[in-house]
Amino acid sequence: MSPSLPQRLRRELMATPTDAVVSLVLIVAITAAAVGFLRWALFKAQWVVIQANSTLFAVGRYPIEQQWRLWLLVTLLTAATGLGWGLLRGRRWPLHDRIAAGLLTALALWAPAALSLSLAIQLRWWALTALLLALRWVVGVWGPGWWSGLSPLGRRLLPLGWPLLYLTGMVLISGGLGLTPVSPSEWGGLMLTLLMASFAMLLSFPLGVALALARRSDLPLLRWGSVLYIEFIRGAPLITLLFLGQNILGFLLPGGVAPDRVWRAAWVLTFFCAAYLAEAVRSGLAAVPRGQFEAARALGLTVPQSLARVVLPQALRTALPTMVGQFISLLQDTTLLSLIGLLDLLGTARSVMANPAYLGKNAEVYFTLAVLFWCCCAALGLGSRALERRLDTSRSTTNPSDSAPSPAVA
């Protein structure tokens, strides 16, 4: 017989006299804090600082005439996400999907209005959300059939769409190929934050895997070289490395030529992230039994083949949660870019608050930023745990959960 609510409350909160006192104190404190916060948020806070600067927070000082390219990029990303989501899930709409769809709709309806965006822009966001969900549904119904009819070559080429999309995004943002170049110093806000984080993560991945393999190799030069690199990076605070990047990089190239500050920081983030990724991959490699490598070699596979097809797939699966954790840290570390004068999300926020019109509105801005970061990082964390569970079960369920295989499987 399951305990009733009053019984449960009693057991949880008042198991001992000290517990009861503690509970009382906590409840009073929490209520007071909550009331105080709500009073501030609803009555005293002036949210106009966010509303007036929403474009700044989103894309920094990106020239207004060129912002259509960013809209194009967002549309492409939305379409790709809808397609991928639909292919992955097929006809079914499990609970998670339904919650996600509900949240997205609610967000699309509330956020643009709360930010006092113009009606035209609000409509655009509604259209994008509708596009995402519509593609998800349409591809879910017809996608799996099309996928199983696709030739093996087609199946291999389709996942390449994502890197292609990334490159297209870079061109759209920075210019070239007939588009007016937009200098990196004009990039800012959430766009810059996401760009830096994704750039560093993508490029540090191969470097990190190489470092991890080198660290476990028997060849002394490779092993000690890799150890030196990893320990050097891990011993230094990120701000000093960014500092190093900004100041020394100019001296390292002939003629004192230095790439834009944004790219210098991006490369520093990449090399920084690679060291930590290497450690994550290393523990993944250590978890793969030696017999796997031996069996592969005994079958006649070469060392590169054995690593690529047998050892690394297993190692990366084990290391995936740690790697996602690393990405979450990276996302948070992008805030340090504000300390070297770049206009990431935090940097933009500080420049907004330096504006005399918005002096003293620190609390509103920081609170919004905190919520934004928290949502992104918590969502990534949830996704990572879900991925962990899915990878675990994929080896013990009889049927893969979808009609179409995940395009990521080699």
Binding site: A298, L299, G300, L301, T302, P313, Q314, R317, R395, T398
Partner: protein
């Protein structure tokens, strides 16, 4: 039991191996294995029997002596080593199936990547081999979903898919629950009956008595005795062999 031919598949002469810590694992071992022959190697733990058969496909190296497999000498030449590994299959005590691939993919990986054969052809052969070891319906499952005996049978099928001329078995049933040992030995028996050259390190006396052409006893890195099973188990010539038999029989 089919008769072995005169063709020499494995010739090992004077093989010596020291581990990096100085331990003398193999002290001048000689062995000749003919085509179609089933040789069972037995011995107490630490006698070097696993180490010895792992030298045949270069999973272990050796400092002195010569080994030639299928007419090729084992040397430092990578081309020779790769060629030998294509012709020599190995079944491990720990199965070592690839957990992230299905049973079918476990079988087809090497023939496609190493022998460069077309996928459809290899899959057809794989299904036939799975049928031969009795688990064709498990083709799309993952190794983690199979029992130990089933996994070891998959491992045997995986080696067979490369069409090896010699099969090495390193204590293939030592990790299995007793009720599964029989099904694996059954597969090995059938392989022997079909004329496969096999070198088996095992403690399974029944298998040795019924299937082996020759039994080799190793102890402390040396070959103590070599005889046909009937002689070995009833009337061995060396005292050491008698001691060993007293322990296991």
């Amino acid at each position: 039991m089919s008769q072995p031919s005169a063709e020499r598949m494995i010739e090992a002469r004077g093989v010596q191996k020291w581990y990096p810590n100085g331990f003398h694992a193999l002290r001048g071992v000689d062995l000749t294995v003919h085509r179609g022959e089933v040789v069972v190697i037995m011995g107490p733990s630490g006698s070097g029997k696993s180490t010895f058969i792992r030298t045949f496909n270069a999973l272990e190296d050796f400092q002195q002596g010569t080994i030639s497999v299928d007419g090729r000498a084992l040397s430092n030449d990578l081309r020779d080593i790769d060629a030998i590994r294509r012709e020599v299959g190995m079944v491990f005590q720990q199965f070592n199936l690839f957990p992230h691939l299905t049973v079918l993919e476990n079988l087809t990986l090497a023939p496609i990547q190493v022998r460069k054969r077309p996928k459809a052809e290899v899959e057809e052969q794989a299904y036939a081999l799975l049928h031969r070891v009795g688990i064709r319906e498990q083709a799309d499952k993952y190794p983690g979903q199979l029992s130990g005996g089933q996994q070891q049978r998959v491992a045997i099928a995986r080696s067979l898919c490369m069409e090896p001329r010699i099969l090495l078995f390193d204590e293939p049933t030592s990790s299995l629950d007793p009720e599964m040992v029989r099904e694996v030995l059954e597969v090995m028996r059938n392989l022997a009956a079909d004329g496969m050259t096999m070198v088996v390190v095992t403690h399974e006396v029944g298998f040795a008595r019924e299937v082996a052409h020759r039994v080799v006893l190793m102890a402390e890195g040396e070959v103590v005795e070599e005889a046909d099973p009937a002689t070995f188990f009833t009337n061995p010539s060396h005292e050491r062999s008698r001691q060993f038999l007293a322990q296991i029989l």
